[in-house]
Every structure is written in C-alpha cells, then in structure tokens.
Symmetry: C2
Subunit: 338 residues, 2 copies
Amino acid sequence: MSRKFNQNYTYNPKKDLSSSEIAKGVLNADTNILSQAITLSESKNKEDRSLVYSALSKLPLNKHKSFKIGVTGSPGVGKSTFIESFGKHLSALGISVAVLTVDPSSNLNGGSILGDKTRMEELSNLPNVFIRPSPSKGELGGVTEQSYESILLCEKAGFDVIIVETVGVGQSETHVKHLVDFFLLLILAGAGDELQGIKRGIMELADGILITKSDGENKINAKNAKKNYQNAIHLFPNKENKWTPKVQTCSSIENKGILEIWELIKDFKSACTENKWINRNRTKQDVFWFNQKLNQFIKEDFFSNSNTLNKVKQIEKDVKEKKLDPFTAAAKIFEDEP
Amino acid sequence: MSRKFNQNYTYNPKKDLSSSEIAKGVLNADTNILSQAITLSESKNKEDRSLVYSALSKLPLNKHKSFKIGVTGSPGVGKSTFIESFGKHLSALGISVAVLTVDPSSNLNGGSILGDKTRMEELSNLPNVFIRPSPSKGELGGVTEQSYESILLCEKAGFDVIIVETVGVGQSETHVKHLVDFFLLLILAGAGDELQGIKRGIMELADGILITKSDGENKINAKNAKKNYQNAIHLFPNKENKWTPKVQTCSSIENKGILEIWELIKDFKSACTENKWINRNRTKQDVFWFNQKLNQFIKEDFFSNSNTLNKVKQIEKDVKEKKLDPFTAAAKIFEDEP
C-alpha cells in the first residue's frame, strides 16, 4: 500500500525550521517541509546545509527503498510531457511519485518555459505526486552534487518511485548512474543523433530507449527510429545488469506507450531483483556516496578555517601570476607560518 | 640551443638518494636520477613520493617551458613506431625529447611487446632523448595522477619537447588535456571508428589527426581516410584555441610524413603563441593542478592518522552491510569519539 502524502498545504516557507521539525516533516511525508529541506540542501550557505544534514542524521535507517528512474534526453525531446503522462499513470495506479526535475526557467538549454510551468502545476495537483524543480546549474544539466540529498530526502519520505530528470548533455548522465536503478533515454524520431548531441556513452547507459512524439505524420519516423536503435543496441557491450535494453515508442498527446513503458520498467525490476543486480548496484552506489560525502566533508572541514581560505586564495593568485609552480604552491598550504 | 643530457650511465638505482641529490640530478638533466625520481613519484609508498615532493620544492621556478605533445590512438595504430620515428627526427634536429610512454609489458591493451622493447632501446640510445615507460594501470590508459609529476620533473630537467602517450580509451584523454599543449590523434586507415573505439570526444580534443601506415596497399585507404576525417572535422564546434585541426598521413616504414607533422606542430605553436592561447591554457592547467594537488594533500593529510583510517574502514563496512546510510556514515567520521 502506498502512503498518503500531505500535499494540500499552501506553500508557506518557515525560515526557522529546526532540524527536528525537518526530520519529523520528512518522515510524515509533508511535501511542504520536504520542499524546504531540498531548498536548504541546495543552499550555498553551509549552515543551511548543516541543518538538513543534522535532520538526516535524526531519521531512522531506510527500510523502504524507492525505485529510482533516471530520465534523460536532449532539450525539445519532450521530457516534461513524458514525465507528466507517466506521473499521471503512476498516480492513477496508486503509486506515489517524486519528480526531481530541471527548472526550465533557469535552464540554459532552453525549453518551453510557460508550457512546462503549466504542466508541472497540473501534475503536482495529483494525489501522491511531489514535483521539485531544481535550478539547472548549466554544466551538469540539472543533476548536481546536491541531488543525492534530494533523493535521500524523498526516499526517507517514503515515495514508491523517484524520477530524476537530466538534460542529456553527457556529464550528468555518468553522474546519474550513481543515483538511479533504471535509466531511460528519450529520443525524438527524425532528428539524428548528431543533431541531438546524444553521445554513445549515454546510449550505453540506457536500460530503455523511448522514441517520443510518435503521432500524426511523425509515426513512420518513430517506427524507423525504433528499428534503427534496436539494431544499434546489439553493437553495444553487454550490460553489467545482464539486461538487454528495449526500445519503445510513445505519444504523450495520444497517450500511447505510457502504460507499456511502466510494464517495461516492471520487467526490468523483477529481472534485476532476481539476478540481485539492483541490490548489488545499490550497495555500490552507497559506497560511492559515502566516499563522495566523506571527501566533501574533509574539504569543507579544511576550508572552514578562514585563515586557511585566505592563504589558499593568495597562493592561487601566485600560481596565476606564475610566481609559484602548482606543485610547490599546493605543498606551501601545509607549511606552518613562520 | 638545446641542453646536453647525461644519458650514458649504467642504470644503477641508488635507493638512498636524498631530496637534494634528486633536485641536483634533475636540474643537471641526469636521466638516471630523473628516471629514479619518476619511479619514486609513482610509488604507492607515501615516503617515496614525499622525497620527490621535497626535491621539487627545492628546484627553482621554471623559466624554461617544454612544449608538450599528447599522442593517442587505439592499440595497434602504431603509436610506438610513430614516436620512434618522430623522436629520431627531433633528435637529429638537435631538439631534446622526453617520452613518457605506456610500458607495453604491463599494458592490458596488448601490443607487440618485444617489438616495442627493441624500438624503445634504439630511440633511447640517441642523444638528448629520454624515454620513460610507465606501467599502464589499465583504467586510464597510461596517464595517471602521477603523470603530472613526471612531466614537471622532465620540464625542470629542461627538455625542449615532452611527448605523453596514452592509449585512446577515453578517460585518459580528457585528463591529458590538462597536461599538454598539442594533442595528436593517430588513426589507422581502413579500421572504422567503431572498431578502433575512438570516441567523438577524443576527436574533438585533437589538434592534429595522423593517418598511420600509409604505405604499400594501404596508401589508398589512408588517402580516403584523410578526406573523411577532414570533412568530419568541420562538423565539430570551433576550438577554444581557434586552431582548425589538420589531417595528415604518414608511413613510419617509408619514413614519410614525419617531417610534415613537426612542421604542423610548429605552425600550431606559432599561431597559438600569437593568439596567446598557449599561455592562457598553461595558466589554466596550472590552476587545475594546484587544486588537484591541494585536494590530494588535504585527503592525504586527513588519512595520515591511522585511527581515522580504521574508523573510515569500519564505517564503510557498516555502509556495505546497510547498517548506516552513506550520508550519516560520512558525517559520523567527523563526530568526536564518546
């Protein structure tokens, strides 16, 4: 049974939430508090982040595990439209969904801003659906170092499915594989790979490829694209999860292929639960994030001293002005002051 | 005028070199000591590395700057053969060359081991040539974190040209762009891109593409490949250095095209010196390595405490056994012991 989420709050950010209030809110799946917690975790201010860190440490160890789906594709491929249809479908099945999406208003890669906003609102009004747009930092196409915290918070809140959207520019996808169980690549029929800037590495990551906008005159294109990608998939090396990626078509307008993609994901889930890959992969991801976070904390701890910070800035300046070579400069940071 | 290098030593590693002896040896371009210093810099033993770090800090700031060339290509493309011919050519011109190459005997990617060894010996007997094979760690195709130190040591020894070889598997090339001024991609005519595993990203990095083994029956293939790559180059985005990559053919057996590639590199050097890109790029690289090394030292400093190290190992075990989530686990490292 899926949990009920208290979504019918007016958005009213309380700036002075304590870490206990955050912990309690997240545990109760209060989407208002969840949203604030994500905002705090994305803050540049270390104190804001510490508040979330402290809340996270108060939450019990996860028993419930959300199934995490990465959705990627070039701008214009129809990611928002797909996520809307897909989210509606899951919601109708009584499955709770959290969507971590790129905020198009801050998206350097363009996209139909007003259109996206409207769709987001429609989907977000459905029961058991939580949508959280994050500002795109440009470089990583929406997934940032902080996405791990956002996902962890949604997981602790008990969502059945978490959808993580990225924009298919390359770097973010190799990053997102440390975050998700299933990776879905959206492709627009008719536009060549080159045109869409889809890199081979991204195709190799995909567990499923979905040809979007398979409607009207575009149907024949979509069918051809499906065949081509199906052939292309066999040229790729076998995946660690032993899963052979599937190619499907969909039309969000005609509402076709949405049901089928959820069936595909369920097939994947049961195959990769049976061969224990999902579990193994999650352990690997956990170790990865443990090391990532440890490195982050080590650095933050080091730079928390303002004297150290000033010293680093001064010495970096000397490097830029070629007064010190990089190596000697880095070693100098650890020298005691005279 | 090029410096003279004292190469006619019998290789006789003195294990107890002091950091002053290393510094002096490197400064005098004693290739025997230089080779030992690189070995020490590649050591897993922190004390060995510290010895080199300390020697580096004793060396004066670089006035002389070596011109650094990255050479990449799939196994079998003829990298060793090319580097041999190219090195001989430079040596004949009185230009001193250091070659940091992948040791084929430890190369997971295969390659003609005996052939390579023989070639290496022939080239290494030439005046003003220093060859240093490094064990390929497999993953990065020969370029490791330590390559920076190796290059810095060769630079301090005053070589005119430093050639850095990688095996074209992808990751190493994005790494190597932080190390070199000019990036040369070797391609074997007749073998398709897919076959050679050359990724688009690598082609985008290339400042020059050299079609190898353009001799005998293969000449016509090489000519076609040249045309194809010349066309392909125009599809790539403009490079930051404003240089349009050039495609050439060569035959190491017939000794053709070697002179031309050095002319090409000289053209690049003068164009990118004039538009100040080389200087800007080197400053960027310096800042990059300053931060890399700083991060390395921060981590090493943190883990130098054996209590900390044990704690991390224990907590990582808890993460693997799912007793702690990664986030709480990382934060726990910074908690004071009860």
